[in-house]
Structure formats: C-alpha cells, structure tokens
Subunit: 147 residues, 2 copies
DNA sequence: TCCCTATCGTTCGGATGCCGAACGATGCCG
DNA sequence: CGGCATCGTTCGGCATCCGAACGATAGGGA
C-alpha cells in the first residue's frame, strides 16, 4: 500500500479543471462574436458541406432538440440557413452563409489566441507533446456509445 | 495568411472535450460510492484539518450556497460533521469523520484508476510530461479573480 | 449598555445546458 | 389507401451554479 496521491495530482483532475477553465474563457472570448462554445461545433461541421440536423446531432453527440436551439441562434445571426430538402421535405439541410464562414474564421483565431494564453510559459517541445497526447486521448468524435 | 487549423486541432478544444469526458466518467465511477465529483473537493480540502464553510467556498471557487448543498449530502453520508464554533457561533467548522476519510481513500483509488483508463496506450514518458504540463497550466486553486 | 453594521450559513428564485417524451409533418411500403 | 418510421420541434424535467435576501450571531462605538 503506497502513499496515495491526492486527487489534485491526478491527470483526470487536471483535465476536468482545465477543461472548465478553458470552457469559461472560450465562452468569454466568443461572446464578443455573439456566439456560444457549442455553436462553434456547428460551424466547424458545416464547413465540409450541408448537413441535416439529425446528422449534426449524432456528430456532435447531443440530442436533436439541442440542435434546434443551437441552429435557431445561428440562424438569427444569419450564420447558417435552414433549407428544406426538396426530395425529403422532412429534412432541413443546414448551409453555411458567407457570414457563417467569416464567423468560423474568427472562432479559429479566438481558439489560436486561447491556445497561446494556455500555453504561455510552456516549453514548446512539451507543448507539441501535449497537443499530440491530448489528440490521442480524445475519443473519436460523434461516437456516443451508451450503456 | 496561413491556413487556419480547425478548432478540433486546438489545445483548448482538446481540454474542453477531454475535461467533459473525464468529468462524466468520474461521476459515473463515483456514483458507486454515492458521491458526486464536487464532493471530492470537500473531502480533499478537509484532509488538512477542519474548515469553515466560507473558507471552503473560496478555496473551491464556488458560492457559499453551493457549499450548503455539498455539505448537506456529505453529512447525510456521515462523511463530514458540522460543528458549531464555540467562540464564534456563526461558523460551522467542518470535520472529516472516519467514514469520510475512508471515502476519501476510495475516491483517490477511483482517480488513479481513471488515470490508467485515460492514459492507456500513452507512452509513459509522454504521460509524465503530460502530468507535469497540465499541473503548470492549472491556475492556483481558490484564486477566482473576477472582472 | 444599546444600537448599528458586518459576517456566516441558509433559503429561494433564476439562468443555463442538457436530456427524453410526445407530437405534427412528411415519407415509405405493402 | 393505411399503417409505420423518421425529422424537426415543443415542452417539461433534472442538474448545477449564481445572486439576493434573511435570521442568527458578533463586534465596535456612542
């Protein structure tokens, strides 16, 4: 029975704490653009092309009802458009507008700036390792295996 | 104008995402003990000795009303005791019970297990670097500078 | 001694973010 | 045509946090 490390020393703790810090800070920076963190996922996903709301929901790992709210706000900002699918009129294909693409660019600048904030005073070699390791630890996007 | 990295490639994104993942998983593991993640902070802080609820609030970075709920549940689990300060009867000094110390040990085991889960397949050298870098990035506990 | 004010814990209402059930509109297939 | 599935939407609920207000208690000055 070795001496136990306090919870503070666990990687899990650091991730939970830093995740919360990064989220709060990101939300703060995004508010200048009139965006919330969760909208960024929408803008990112739509870069590859139009997508139905249900596809978006599964990709982002949220329920369809959450997508409704996210898209409502983005439509109010004229960043995305809901376009009824002509062949299956139940589907709304979401399209990025020019404004949406511009907002997307801004969010990526914000993210880059936040990375600089977070990595200030971190050895560049370590920062590279960090980036790589975090990517490896991240479960593949959009796969929500429930119990 | 260099090509912008998508949000997915930012350290901030990885931290937010992994933080959420770790939090969910930690909550899941803790539920076997009848605990929530936020209670663990209380158990950890009280290891050093008794503490008033207000001290705990500032240390954990939450409002006093949140502490009330956290302590209510921990008292129901008989993990902590509220002891009226005899010299200043407004204060409740929170004390860890034996059951509380035992629960604390269990939570540290859970955290260690979660770390193993999260670091599975990660090079041990990289894992060490990760731990060190995350600790450095973490802002000092209990310092909530508001605007 | 007696107020006046500050502090501690508590209660309550509100904001936020997410889920799940139910429902209308629409599509599909026998 | 009729029954069933699917998409988007609405609604209520749950969890977590905050901030305002309040009672109990403390402390200092007239």
């Amino acid at each position: 029975m070795e001496p136990q490390q306090p919870w503070d020393d666990s990687v899990a703790f650091s991730l939970v704490r830093l995740g919360a810090v990064a989220h709060r800070r990101y939300a703060e920076l995004l508010s200048d653009l009139g965006l919330r963190p969760r909208q960024v996922g929408v803008l990112e996903q739509l870069r590859a092309g139009p997508m139905s709301q249900l596809e978006l929901a599964t990709t982002l790992g949220v329920t369809p009802s959450v997508v409704v709210d996210m898209v409502d706000e983005l439509e109010r900002l004229e960043a995305v458009r809901r376009v009824r699918d002509t062949v299956d009129r139940r589907r709304s294909n979401l399209e990025l507008t020019d404004r949406g693409r511009e907002l997307g660019r801004s969010t990526r600048e914000v993210a880059a700036g936040l990375d600089e904030e977070l990595l200030a005073g971190i050895d560049p070699d370590h920062a590279r390792t960090l980036r790589a390791v975090l990517r490896r630890m991240l479960p593949p996007r959009g796969l929500r295996q429930e119990a």
